[in-house]
């Protein structure tokens, strides 16, 4: 019986789909364990299940040889299992010291021991090697500093098992180095650490042991000494080269051109999308792809650079302008941004086109149903009828409704953000068929996807983003998964096209 945390046979299900299936993982004290895998491989879900955020459907946890069950994150924390979030969850109005001790104040009866709180906070921050004033407010602190506050809070709970969920993604290289120093210190003090990441460089810089997940299953556990980056990339991707390649298409006129476009989360974007062309936008989560899509669609405003549509310079002030210009976005967060869940298929699919579908502002039920039925048939939508609420549909069918909503508006440019996330295999190939058909008909398609086979399968060209910039543009017919992965993670040997 070793010290640390052992998870056995963990299975986590969302809506009947197992996102993590029967994974065993052992976090030994005095060791940094890296959990790697492609986007959607189930890394974060596993980490959150260990920290009590999700309750696994099957499986058991053992802490220092004793069986445990966490009903919520607070119980995990009380047992010494701390989760450090990518975007730290803090109280912006309260001070650093109070953020550290909120929920378990140092107290004397009903009273907070402020001087002890401040002193103890200072100690905790110092032991992390962090120069933060415990009395300063948290609002206005950088992400890195707020992470440090979260670290100190975990430390105040005497955490012995630390889970870092993609914590390095929003940090600068210098901040990452500082975080690593803290991690090493924790390890040397005998803590067990789990880091969830897809930055392999980091894994090899800090971890002792690596577990690779693919499609919710554990495919390998290696020590850093016995492995190398190439092997891990291959294990993560884990497929033979995709058999299906896209059919070559004639690309038409340039439809969308950006020159030096900058905005929140992305910089210096030079991107061209032609009519009848599918451009894949690959990269890791947090690389700035969604942010770019949101700016192109007018949700946020670019701060610099130019955007041309059919050779005309345009400014997309709002999604409404985008709609008028013929730009549409199928958003990543389908449930909150794409759909009105309690409303019907007919209501949802005609939402953007309604004003044009209904002359004079009167709802024309016949037109609405005719148009909805047309797309339902074309997309082979599985539903009782078009008055069914979209909340009752499967993920794939919901996505078809979102697609129908935008295609009705006959857009020139279709931006898709993770179009097949949470979509079952059958519906996925349907969505792929639809996307291909649209390009064939001459639509310009910009597709953000973390699913590499999907990117390779559909794209004529592939742009890879890292840290807010486009770092590689690859030919869709010649690119390989490894090439994309190398460019996205910033590895040596990336073939920059």
């Amino acid at each position: 019986m070793t010290k640390g945390l052992r998870a056995a046979g963990i299975t986590i299900s969302f809506g009947g789909i197992d996102v993590v299936a029967g994974v065993d993982i052992k976090l030994r004290s005095g060791e940094i364990h890296a959990l790697v895998g492609e986007n959607g491989a189930g890394k974060s879900s596993l980490a959150k299940a260990i920290a009590g955020v999700y309750r696994p459907r099957l499986g058991s946890l053992e802490l220092n040889g004793v069986g445990v069950k966490f009903r919520n994150p607070r119980e995990a924390l009380d047992a010494g299992v701390a989760l450090i979030h990518q975007e730290p969850i803090t109280f912006p109005d309260l001070s650093v010291a109070e953020n550290i001790f909120a929920g378990h104040h140092l107290r004397c009866g009903p009273f907070v021991r402020w001087s002890a709180t401040l002193a103890r906070s200072r100690e905790l921050l110092e032991s992390l090697g962090v120069a933060l004033d415990p009395a300063s407010p948290v609002a206005g602190l950088s992400v890195a500093a707020r992470q440090q506050v979260e670290l100190a809070s975990a430390l105040s709970h005497d955490a012995t098992v630390w889970i870092f969920d993609e914590t390095t993604a929003p940090l600068t290289p210098k901040e990452v180095a500082e975080l690593f120093t803290v991690m090493r210190r924790l390890r040397d003090q005998g803590c067990a650490l789990l880091i969830v990441t897809h930055h392999l460089q980091e894994v090899f810089a800090i971890a002792d042991r690596i577990t690779v997940l693919r499609d919710g299953k554990k495919v390998a556990e290696k020590t850093v000494a016995e492995s190398n980056e190439d092997e891990i990339v291959r294990l993560m991707v884990g497929r033979e080269l995709s058999l299906e390649r896209h059919e070559a298409r004639e690309a038409g006129e340039e439809l969308l051109v950006t020159r030096g476009l900058c905005g929140p989360g992305f910089r210096d974007i030079d991107l061209t999308v032609r009519c009848g062309e599918i451009v894949g936008l690959a990269g890791l989560v947090g690389a700035g792809r969604t942010e770019l899509a949101r700016a192109l669609f007018g949700i946020t405003r670019p701060t610099a650079g130019r955007m041309l549509l059919e050779g005309q310079e345009v400014q997309v002030a709002s999604p409404r302008t985008a709609l008028r210009l013929g730009i549409s976005l199928v958003p990543e967060d389908r449930l909150h941004e794409g759909l009105l869940l309690p409303q019907s298929i007919a209501v949802n699919s005609t939402l953007a086109y309604l004003a044009r579908l209904c002359n004079g502002g009167w709802l024309h039920q016949k037109n609405i149903h005719a148009e909805t039925n047309k797309y339902a048939a074309r997309f082979r939508l599985a539903c009782r009828n078009t008055d069914q609420a979209v909340s009752e549909l499967s993920g794939g069918n919901q996505q078809k409704v979102v697609l129908a909503k935008w295609l009705m508006t006959q857009p020139k440019l279709l931006i898709l953000d993770e179009p097949t996330r949470g979509v079952d295999v059958g519906a996925k190939s349907e969505v792929h068929r639809i996307i291909r058909e649209l390009a064939q008909e001459g639509m310009a398609v910009l597709m953000i996807s973390s699913d590499l086979p999907e990117v390779l399968h559909l794209s004529d060209r592939i742009a890879v983003m890292r840290e807010g910039r486009i770092v590689a543009q690859l030919n869709g017919a010649e690119a390989t998964e490894e090439q994309i992965m190398f460019a996205a993670t910033g590895q040596q040997g990336a073939a920059l096209g």
Binding site: N72, P73, R74, L77, D78, I89, T90, F91, P92, D93, L94, E98, A102, G103, H104, H105, R107, P110, F111, V112, W114, A139, G140
Partner: protein, 316 residues
């Protein structure tokens, strides 16, 4: 004193300056006393409302709770004119606590927005007040002099009398200050209003914090009912505390309390209460009749939410 409290302070200085120039009588002890006569009621109720707003909620029913408690205590006094004063105050507190707990129960267990619940009880409690009083006013004959004298006598410092009611109100403000600043409950109030999700992650029970703040807010409004009887010497079931929620919310808002919760201070709210008391007195001193009161409260609330919005924009 932070930036947010500064707004109330700035207004206070500005107002005194402008009014003082036009009417030098303003700085005489009498005017200061009449300002201080207004303070206790607003202050006590504002402390409860501050707690509620800090958690990100609102309580519109406070005026009706005040009225109900005033009538209730008046009826108790009518039956037992020689009841010791501490019991009288405790009775008001208890009546308010019961009504506040009703609000709290419906909000927490019924999972209904505080706005709708307290709009409903704003009316319902007022109706109950009429039922309780059978529509009759509690006259000065029913309120013992030992109670009314508290509003006018007290400790005199430099020709200005600080009434016992004011001292009571300031004591409550002090207790609120200590509770908010130095107890785990007080800190949980801030935490809940600052980020409810984070509070949940840290194991802070939002239900019990919410329950407590609405119950306390009711209790303080109940206490204010007794103070109302003391200050005015009568309690009318229709007018006692009517529209008082506007005054109090205006005081809390202009005192720099973040209206979406999580930030605010007792000092700021005290300044806000002082500002509104001054407005009341200055209006009458300047010969502007009481008809401008409602408009002033509205403008104060509007100014407060506009500065709140500007502060949010500045940060974003």
């Amino acid at each position: 004193m932070g930036k947010r409290e500064g707004i109330a302070f700035g207004f206070l200085v500005l107002l005194s300056g402008v009014a003082g120039l036009k009417e030098p009588r303003l700085f005489q002890p009498q005017s200061i006393e009449s300002v201080l006569l207004w303070m206790p009621l607003i202050t006590v109720v504002a402390m409860g409302q501050l707690l509620v707003i800090l958690t990100g909620g609102i309580d519109l029913s406070i005026g009706s709770i005040l009225g109900f408690s005033g009538i209730g205590v008046g009826l108790v006094l009518k039956a037992n004119p020689h009841l010791p004063l501490p019991i009288v105050f405790l009775a008001g507190l208890a009546i308010g606590l019961a009504l506040g707990a009703f609000n709290a129960a419906v909000i927490v267990w019924g999972k209904i927005s505080p706005l709708i619940v307290t709009i409903g009880t704003l009316a319902a409690f007022r109706g109950l007040t009429f039922i309780l009083s059978k529509g009759d006013q509690i006259d000065s004959s029913m309120i013992p002099d030992s109670l009314t004298v508290l509003a006018h006598s007290g400790i005199t410092i430099a020709h200005v009398t600080l009434s016992w009611l004011l001292i009571l109100a300031l004591t409550i403000a002090l207790i609120t200050f200590a509770t908010l600043g130095f107890t785990t409950f007080g800190r949980n109030v801030f935490a809940l209003g600052s980020n409810a999700d984070a509070a949940r992650l840290r194991g802070i029970s939002s239900g019990s914090v919410q329950f407590a703040v609405y119950a306390i807010c009711g209790a303080l409004a109940g206490l204010a009912g007794v103070m109302y009887a003391s200050r005015f010497g009568f309690v009318n079931p229709g007018s006692a505390g009517s529209s008082f929620e506007l005054t109090v919310i205006a005081a809390v808002a202009i005192g720099g309390t973040k209206l979406t919760g999580g930030s605010g201070s007792v000092l700021g709210v005290l300044l806000g209460c002082l500002l509104l008391s001054c407005i009341n007195v200055f209006l009458s001193l300047l010969g502007i009749d009481a008809n401008y009161q409602m408009l002033t409260y509205g403008l104060v609330i509007l100014i407060a939410i506009l500065t709140d919005a500007a502060a949010r924009r500045g940060k974003a």
